[in-house]
Symmetry: C2
Subunit: 174 residues, 2 copies
């Protein structure tokens, strides 16, 4: 993962090769392909996250938990490496429905699981009258951040993250 | 605009040229450049929207107005042409801060104005105790749709649009 990040900074996504990563990391190419079937999957794991996403510590409230996720999502999407590879990942997914399905079963499912965990906590605390769909809450919290960072490239400050967490929490509780 | 859409369908974004559009439309290239300074601005206007976005008809409630915008945003982002050019627009914005600024002053400002209009209506109806920031509500409603369509390419049905409008409205009202 460190080798991927170094080479991304040196050569950019387009010219990065799995061969170069293997050489830099001192491992065989097969060892990489056992774990990542394609360059884009390897790069996503190295710059955004892999499929093992630990949930945030329990803050004691749904608002606190969603705010913690929002901060983490923004911090990850807003690194130079993630900002560099974001458009390439989007383009690769748009060209391949097979790759899209792999991303939905891998990173997307991992992200939704984070939301499922904090919604379960909220239900256990009695914060939610009705169950909420983790897939929708994922769109409602991660979506605005993705839109701002990868779409119109709007800078997102703490106040915006707070407004997202506050509005979504109040909407789910009401 | 019709010539752009025809040529996009025939040749794709990469091979589309302003020359070909001028020839197809039977106008001079200068006439196009007077209106659109670049290919990407021309294509965005032809497939998503121009900078003159009429607000939706007043449905009588903030929920109805936000749901109407959500349906419109999804319908526009989900056409074959928009799905084709989305990744190209994202890549071009990521490479040029000058272009990003033009998109923020053009299409982004037009989209925010839609939200400002429906929030003003909601305030006038007495639906909102406190004023809401149109820029944040834009992220909260358009963001999840953009994330689903252009990010993980998740299909968005009426129930998801309804859940987005309902949660955001309840969050803003509480």
């Amino acid at each position: 993962m460190a080798a991927v990040r170094q080479l991304l900074a040196e050569t950019g996504y387009e010219r990065l090769t799995v061969d170069a990563v293997a050489a830099r990391a001192g491992v065989g190419k097969a060892a990489i392909y056992r774990r990542y079937a394609s360059k884009v999957e390897m790069v996503f794991a190295a710059t955004l996250h892999d499929d093992d996403l630990p949930p945030p510590a329990d803050t004691g409230s749904l608002h606190g938990d969603l705010l913690a996720i929002a901060h983490r999502v923004h911090a990850r999407m807003n690194t130079p490496a993630a900002r560099q590879i974001g458009p390439a990942v989007i383009a690769e997914l748009s060209r391949s429905s097979e790759l899209t399905e792999k991303f939905q079963q891998g990173p997307l499912a991992a992200e939704r699981q984070l939301y499922a965990t904090v919604l379960d906590r909220a239900t256990a605390r009695g914060e939610l009258a009705r169950p909420a769909d983790p897939a929708v809450v994922h769109l409602l919290v991660s979506g605005p951040i993705f839109f701002a960072v990868s779409g119109y490239r709007i800078s997102v400050d703490d106040a915006v993250l707070e407004a997202i967490a506050t509005t979504v929490t109040a909407g789910l509780r009401s």
